[in-house]
Every structure is written in structure tokens, then in C-alpha cells.
């Protein structure tokens, strides 16, 4: 098993983006997915950094792919998605729409926002050229086992959500803008104020969710740290690490140590608590009564 870094869900300044990917070039990860997958309005502010980062990461020996948006509606978004196909880099689709723009027979990757819940869908995607699929984070271990087995039969690499706030929902409405009594069209890019999303509590002060523009994330960081053996036995080939603004190099190194056996799962899980917001971890989608549940102590 190895490590894939997913596209950044948050809106960071172009300087922060450059620093983040320069750091990642040194990190022990095999591949990196770049690009804007949450809100097309953000892209003009940082898109110049994408090509630079791709070059830097390829030079450092990483495999690099470009992500599509997770929800493609506007004509501008359709154009942007179609243009992605001209870059020459592998594409990770996060909305099935993107298949309409891929020349037939072009290999592609599939991101966690595409609903791959069963072998039939996996087969259909493989038939269209999918060679790597990051499964939806909602899936339990039993489904992961069945899909990883099907992936092995078809020669499709299967990835599982390994670390990061869970992408629980995406909407036409921008909740960051709504919190500022603005509409999406006049958002003034307020999501940039929260580099890891804006925390949402229940009225009893329970940490619960995080708002990230049109996306709603979990408050907890979902971590597969305690599920590595089960995932390896299932035939999962990679863990997906989703960017966060702080300590991401340490996080990549920790998972890499975990995968090569240099660090115990419980030890790593304990250290992770200090590296994530409020020390909140979860792994209940893989194995537990609900997504928010954490199987560790």
C-alpha cells in the first residue's frame, strides 16, 4: 500500500499553495492530485500555481493527476472541465460529467465524489478507462473488500480515504456566504478566512461539521490509521490523504512510517491527535455504528 494526496478542498492564497506543494515534493507520497474540486470561483486566484506545482512534483518523482470539480453546473465550469483534458496530465474525475469530455479510451482516475458503491459501477468505469479509483468514504469494510477484489480482477487500483475531514456533502448554495448574509454570486470569497473550514457545533456545543463554501465536511478527521491491516488484507493499494493547512508533512511521514511498519498503529493514532483540529478522529464509516465514531481510545 502507498499514499496519494488528494486535491486541496480549501481556498488558500497562491503563496500558501506554492509553499504547500513545494513541501509536498519532499514528502514520502507516491502521487498527488492537484486542482480545484470545490468551487470554480476560486480557481482564477490560484490556478497559476497548478502547473508549477505539477512540474515540481513530477520532477520529485511523484505521479500527478488533475481533479475536476465535484459539482459541474455552469457553462463556465463545463468549459473549465473540458479544458482540463488538454493538459496532458491524467485526469481524476469527481463528477461523471467529465467522462463526456474525455476522448474515448483515455485512461483516467476516479475520485471519492463519484458514487462507486458496487462491482457493476466499477466494471462500467473500468470499461471506459478507469485505472485508479478512490472509493466514496461512506463505504463500510465489507464493501471495500468486495470492490478491492473486483478491482484486482480488472486491474484497477483501489484507494480508500485515509486521512482528512470527510467531504460529506456539496450544494448549489454557499454556506460560507450564507453565514455572512451574502449569496454565492456575491460571496466576496469569505471561505478564504478559514484555511481548514469553519467549525460548526450543535446547540449543545458538540463539535459536528465544518463549512467549506459549497461543501460540508466532517468536524473530525477521518483516519484509517487503525484499519491498515484490514485494508491491506482486502487488497486496497493506496490510502488517500486530504490536505490540511498545518503539519501536513508530518502527517504524510507518519502514515508512510505506519505503512512500512516503522510505527505502530496505536502510537500513530495517539500522535495524530495533536496534529488535527481539536484532536478529533473518526473511522466509523469503515468499521463502526456511524461515520463520526472512532474505534480507538
Amino acid at each position: 500500500m502507498d499514499l496519494t494526496v488528494g486535491p486541496n478542498p480549501y481556498f488558500w492564497s497562491i503563496e500558501s499553495v506554492r509553499a504547500f506543494y513545494a513541501g509536498l515534493a519532499e514528502a514520502p507520497v507516491e502521487r498527488v492530485v492537484l486542482g480545484e474540486w470545490v468551487c470554480s470561483k476560486r480557481l482564477p486566484f490560484w490556478q497559476d500555481a497548478i502547473a508549477e506545482a505539477a512540474e515540481q512534483l513530477v520532477t520529485a518523482g511523484k505521479q500527478v493527476a488533475l481533479s475536476t470539480l465535484a459539482l459541474i453546473t455552469l457553462p463556465r465550469e463545463r468549459r473549465q472541465s473540458a479544458e482540463l483534458m488538454q493538459t496532458g496530465l491524467p485526469i481524476e474525475i469527481n463528477d461523471l460529467t467529465a467522462l463526456a469530455y474525455l476522448p474515448e479510451g483515455t485512461p483516467f482516475w476516479v475520485g471519492p465524489m463519484v458514487n462507486v458503491y458496487n462491482e457493476g459501477t466499477l466494471r462500467w468505469l473500468a470499461g471506459r478507462g478507469a485505472e485508479r479509483i478512490c472509493l466514496p468514504p461512506e463505504l463500510p469494510l465489507a464493501s471495500v473488500r468486495a470492490l478491492a477484489a473486483e478491482g484486482q480482477r480488472l486491474g484497477v487500483a483501489i484507494e480508500v480515504w485515509g486521512h482528512g475531514r470527510l467531504p460529506l456533502a456539496i450544494s448549489g448554495r454557499c454556506y460560507h456566504a450564507r453565514l455572512h448574509a451574502r449569496s454565492k454570486d456575491s460571496c466576496q470569497f469569505v471561505c478564504a478566512e478559514d484555511p481548514d473550514g469553519r467549525a460548526v457545533q450543535t446547540s449543545d456545543d458538540q463539535p459536528f461539521l465544518a463549512i467549506n463554501g459549497v461543501q460540508t465536511l466532517s468536524h473530525s478527521i477521518a483516519s484509517a490509521a487503525l484499519q491498515i491491516e484490514a485494508l491491506r488484507e482486502a487488497g486496497v493499494t493506496a490510502l488517500r490523504l486530504s490536505p490540511q493547512s498545518r503539519d501536513f508533512g508530518t502527517i504524510c511521514a507518519g502514515y508512510a512510517d505506519l505503512l512500512r511498519g516503522a510505527l505502530g498503529a496505536a502510537d500513530w493514532a495517539a500522535r495524530l491527535r495533536a496534529l488535527v483540529p481539536d484532536g478529533a478522529l473518526s473511522d466509523g464509516f469503515l468499521q463502526g455504528p456511524s461515520g463520526a465514531h472512532w474505534s480507538g481510545r
Binding site: R78, G120, A142, F208
Partner: protein, 325 residues
């Protein structure tokens, strides 16, 4: 425009047909449909009888098989497809690409509609489903404005169906796992959202508190309405702000938009609510049928006709108005 009405039970289906529905949608009593609630839905025998009842009165029956089949257990969904065809359903409503591929291959005579759970939100995605699987109608996700729906209809060759009344998802449908994050059960996998089995009420001082698997969703002061604790309609706090951060406990009522939807080229209008009572179904179907008849006759659409049937007595036109975003 065709009026497509919900039925959670055979009795509700008959009620909807008698009240003037052009088509009724319903599902089997298992996880294959997105309203998998206790006490609801149809056995295969119910389905065959329901189709016969509807056909005898000139109405269609559309069978929703719109959850995402579970890996290792796809047979349950494949059987549902065969049973829908055996019952002579007029169409099946599907969301999962694997299931669509199976239907196209094994049930070529079955008319396929794309469920809102597939969240096909632009012409390119819709054309892809049409060309890959022969889908004939798409139920549009509730993230689109009327202007966008107009543009979509100009760019596709298949029919569009849009929601006009009832519960309102504020998230892109079929792309939401908020419910399973809190409860372990989701629309995509289990056909339920914020399920009643995971709701607990507690009286705390003057407030009725509604929790979903321990997460507080609402605190309703004595004497004020206590809406069902659907997760995305809950009252939450972020920094110094508290309130309905995602959506107020409102429901959709687009009756006044019928003329615009007709001009937008929409073929069918969908009413949400397979979990609702027969009285509710009868009221909504009659109201919308009257509105459609008024539209056809060039009369104005009646105003406020269904206000007593909207959740919490508050209604919205949702994403159809661009300002909703």
C-alpha cells in the same frame, strides 16, 4: 406537463390516481428505493395490482429503484428491476451507473428514467446517461435555477422532470452522507435520511430537544412547532452565529413557477412525499392538477392553495430562484 405523484402504499397510489395524477412513482419494500421507511412500499404483487389499477384509469406507474446497490449484494437490485418489468411498470427510476448498465443490457424494453439521486446537473452529464444507457428522462437535481433548466432543455434530447412540491434537499442529491456520518444510515446506501429510529426527544426545562444519534438538531421552546429533526434543517452554531446554517425547516412550493417551468421546456412535475398520508397526497395532487388545468386554460395559478400542507407552514422556491444560493 405530466404530474408525477408519490405513493408510499397501494392505497396512496389509488388516492393519487383518483385525485388526477398523470403518473405515480413508488418502490418495493426494501433497500432498493430511497424511501425505505417502516410500513411503507410495495410487494411485487402489490406492484402488479397497482399498475393494473393505474393503467385502467389512464395513469402511469414509475418504479423507483434509486439507491446504490451494495457491493456483493447487487442481486437484490437486479431482482427489483425484473419485478418492475414483470409488473408492467411504465418506467424505472435509477441512479447507479452499474444498475443502469445492467438494465440496458438485460431489460432493453424497460424505459429508464435517471433519478435525482444521480445528480446529473448539466447537459453533458445528461447526454452521457442518454447515450451510454438509453435514459429517456432525467429528474433534475434541486440545485438549478429556472434559467439553467431552460438552457439544459435546449441542449438535450430527452425529457426533464423537476420537483415542484414537498421536502427539499439543500445538498446535491446522491452526493450527501451527512445522515450516515451521524447515524450510520444514508439515502444512498439504505434509502433513509435522518431516520426516525435514531431520533430521541427530551423535555429539558421549557424546551423540547430533538437529537439524532446524540447530536442535537433542534431545541423547540414550549408552544412553538417542533419540526422533524432532518440533519441539514437543524439549528447549529458557528463562531458567534447560531441558526439554521444550511436551510430553514421549509419545504418546496414551486406552484407559482409552473408557467416558467412550462416555458423552460420541462416535461414532468414531481411531488415529493412517498412517506406522506393519503390525505396529504390527495390535497397536493388535487391542488397541482387544478393549477395545471388553470395553466392550460390560460387562467392564473391559484395563490396559497397548498400553504397548509407545507412543512412548518413555510415554503420556498429553493434553487429555482438564483438568489437562494
Amino acid at each position: 406537463m405530466e404530474l408525477v405523484c408519490p405513493a408510499g402504499t397501494p392505497a396512496a397510489l389509488r388516492t393519487a390516481v383518483d385525485a388526477g395524477a398523470h403518473a405515480v412513482y413508488c418502490g418495493f419494500a426494501d433497500e432498493t428505493n430511497a424511501r425505505n421507511f417502516p410500513g411503507l412500499n410495495f410487494t411485487p404483487e402489490d406492484m402488479a395490482e397497482a399498475v393494473a389499477y393505474a393503467h385502467a384509469r389512464g395513469a402511469k406507474v414509475l418504479v423507483a429503484i434509486n439507491t446504490f446497490p451494495r457491493a456483493g449484494e447487487q442481486a437484490l437490485w437486479h431482482i427489483a428491476l425484473a419485478q418492475a418489468e414483470a409488473a408492467r411498470a411504465d418506467a424505472v427510476i435509477l441512479a447507479d451507473p452499474g444498475l443502469l448498465a445492467h438494465a440496458a443490457e438485460h431489460h432493453p424494453g424497460l424505459r429508464l428514467h435517471l433519478s435525482v439521486q444521480a445528480a446529473a446537473a448539466n447537459p453533458d452529464a445528461i447526454n452521457l446517461y442518454a447515450s451510454a444507457f438509453g435514459v429517456r428522462r432525467v429528474v433534475l437535481p434541486r440545485v438549478l435555477s429556472v434559467q439553467e433548466i431552460t438552457a439544459i432543455n435546449r441542449a438535450i434530447d430527452i425529457e426533464t422532470e423537476v420537483f415542484v412540491f414537498g421536502g427539499l434537499c439543500v445538498m446535491a442529491e446522491g452526493r450527501c452522507s451527512l445522515s450516515s456520518y451521524a447515524t450510520g444510515r444514508s439515502p444512498n446506501m439504505n434509502g433513509v435520511c435522518s431516520p426516525a429510529s435514531h431520533v430521541a426527544y427530551a423535555q429539558e426545562g421549557d424546551e423540547l430537544v430533538a437529537r439524532l444519534s446524540g447530536f442535537t438538531i433542534h431545541r423547540s421552546p414550549a408552544g412553538s412547532p417542533a419540526p422533524y429533526p432532518t440533519l441539514c434543517k437543524g439549528c447549529f452554531t458557528s463562531q458567534d452565529q447560531s441558526g439554521h446554517l444550511f436551510e430553514d425547516p421549509v419545504s418546496l412550493d414551486a406552484m407559482q413557477l409552473l408557467p416558467q417551468l412550462a416555458r423552460a421546456g420541462v416535461s414532468a412535475l414531481k411531488i415529493e412525499g412517498r412517506q406522506r398520508s393519503r390525505a396529504y397526497v390527495a390535497g397536493v395532487v388535487r391542488g397541482f392538477r387544478a393549477a395545471l388545468d388553470a395553466l392550460a386554460a390560460g387562467r392564473p395559478i391559484p395563490e396559497g392553495a397548498l400553504s397548509s400542507l407545507t412543512e412548518g407552514q413555510a415554503a420556498t422556491t429553493g434553487a429555482y430562484a438564483k438568489s437562494w444560493r
